[in-house]
Amino acid sequence: MLNKGIPTMAHTRLLIAALFAGAFALSGPLSAQPTPPAPPEAPSAPPAPGGKAATITGDHTVEKGETTGDLVVAGGDLIVRGQVRGDVVVVGGDLVLEDGGEVRGNALVSSGEILDHGGRIYGEMRTVDDLAHLAADNALSSIAAQADAEVARHTKHAPRARVVNQTGEKHGSSWFGPIRRGFAELAFTLAFALVLGGLGSVLVFYGRPYLDTVSDTLRASPARAGLVGLAAGFLVIPAFVVLIVALTVSIIGIPLLLVAVPLYPVAVAVACIFGLLAAAHALGERTAEQREEIFDLRRRNAYTYLFTGLAALIIVPLLIANLLTMTGFLNWVGVVVKVLVMAVAFAATTAGLGAVILSRAGTRRTFATRTGGTPLDPDPFFDHDSDLRGTHA
């Protein structure tokens, strides 16, 4: 079965990278699906008599004077004293070429050796270390797949070989593949959640007033914040260039280049993350207001808002996408979900960045005033800052 379009770890990493970069996708192409080069040409060999390869389990000998076509031997040695007018695949055994023995095509041996005692192989002699890597060669792919199926039948396991066809797509992966991939992505998503949660916790602990201000700005002026964030996204590179030129031209500013050049991208990245966290906080706060019966007094604090927002915005949808990936047949839905998460996170980061800019990183409340304020009562423990009381929960 073709596994075209299966989401890989790269998807998740791409998504996460995009989230961190936010509106400032400075990098080049986002998706780089591997496109293998043209396959190697099959070595010339006379056509084998018959179509499908003969499949044999256990030791086998092609006797002197005997001629055969493509041959697959699983779980035993193949001794060639006669002539094989095609390809040979031996799995779990050795290929022994006795004096005068000939293989007119290619020879592939998995978990074994090619022992030449005076015979001849006209094509390529290849040994591989693992059945799962049975063939990456166009010339041997079909016969190798047959060998794998034979071994699977013999050992009562599903085929494990991953045969690469002419376009480089991998065939015959077991159905454990999506589960394994899903688990890997799941682990990555959880790690990502821990990163965001950790950063958010630090931000709340050390800079909650600033986070509140940015969050309030975003809630009070979402359209303005979105437009400013979008504009910032377009201007970030030109501004960087202008900064470098200005510092260079001013001569005196040249030493400052050493600081400005590395610091600028870092500052942009920090602003994006700050914006995303503020957007998550705003979403969590809004959710708390709407679900007052759920968010009782103990849960009305910045930590809860932040974690709720992050979960709703990114983490839970990503986890769902990972679970969908595990099913294999629903992986396309998982891809759609991931794309949606990426779009939502992009929008949230853009708007959050705009709010960061409007509020001067949370130091100015010009655009943070909302009519009516929050309907929730303040948390007596967390909301002890008198200057912020009544403006948010």
Partner: protein, 286 residues
């Protein structure tokens, strides 16, 4: 409460550091070989992007080549293409990524290719090596032509034994490389061409010289050390910009530098040096 929260944050940070999974890698080893079948001239192309590359004469007689590749199958695939009609063989690994090879030390340091070349088959070798380390022993082969291109690498090329044929040319192109070529006399080349971009290069012209040769050295920025045998006549034509030249052992006549034995030498090496910025040092070998 704040302490608990701080601790939770610290734990979360520590956990995330431990939880970030490493890039999935599937390292594979493939052995490949082919018996020779009366090839008149083998056109051998070796393409290797990043990792450790070893090339030497094949250990077994009668082989066109023998090779072992260790590679990350998620990112590369081995290449062993042979076209009988044109007698062209291509060996190496190719990236599955259309954007080429991304250099990542942790992912390439395990990558390795060991290639043995059939010694008896007349061969035109075209070797392209990207980044990493290469140890290339070409001594004792039957080389008609050698072209070697290396990028940001540490490369050692050696002609440890005389070439079985007279080579038309040995051409070496180096990017930002630390390159050492030993025993160029054993290459038995009529023409030796070296061009380097940036880096440090040692060109050792030692070995068993059987005939005179022309050599050109073009260097951008960097140092070139020429190790020259005393038993052949050497002439240096130098065209440089900001490059120092150690002329010890030479006699200047006109615009060229000659060894004292130039007029009487049966075997002569004429060196044409073009260098932009750097130094040209000369070491004499017996």
């Amino acid at each position: 409460m704040r302490k608990q929260i701080l601790m939770a944050g610290a734990l979360a940070t520590a956990a995330l550091l431990a939880a970030v999974p490493a890039h999935a890698q599937s390292w594979r080893t493939v052995n490949s070989a082919r018996q020779s079948s009366g090839e008149e001239t083998l056109h051998l192309n070796v393409e290797y992007g990043a990792g450790r590359l070893n090339i030497a004469p094949a250990k077994k007689n009668g082989l066109l080549y023998e090779a072992q590749f260790r590679y990350d199958e998620e990112r590369f695939r081995p290449v062993t293409e042979y076209r009988k009609e044109s007698e062209t063989l291509t060996l190496g690994v190719r990236s599955l990524d259309k954007n080429g090879i991304r250099l990542d030390r942790s992912r390439t340091e395990q990558a390795r290719a060991d290639i043995g070349i059939g010694a008896a088959i007349p061969t035109r070798l075209d070797l392209q090596f990207g980044a990493g380390e290469a140890a290339i022993e070409l001594g004792g082969l039957s080389l008609k032509d050698v072209k070697l291109s290396t990028g940001a690498s540490e490369t050692r090329v050696r002609f440890g034994a005389p070439n079985r044929l007279v080579a038309e040319r040995v051409k070496i192109e180096a990017g930002a490389a630390d390159l050492r070529v030993e025993g160029l006399g054993n290459a038995r080349a009529e023409k030796i061409e070296f061009s380097g971009g940036v880096g440090s290069t040692v060109l050792d012209f030692g070995g068993q010289w059987t005939h005179s040769a022309l050599a050109s050295v073009q260097m951008g920025i960097g140092s070139v050390t020429l190790r020259l045998p005393q038993n052949i006549g050497v002439r240096v034509d130098k065209n440089s910009f900001l490059t120092s030249f150690d002329s010890n052992g030479f006699i200047k006549r006109g615009s060229s530098y000659y060894t004292a034995n130039w007029d009487d030498a049966q075997i002569r090496l004429t060196l044409d040096i073009n260098a932009a910025l750097g130094s040209i040092d000369v070491e004499w070998i017996r």
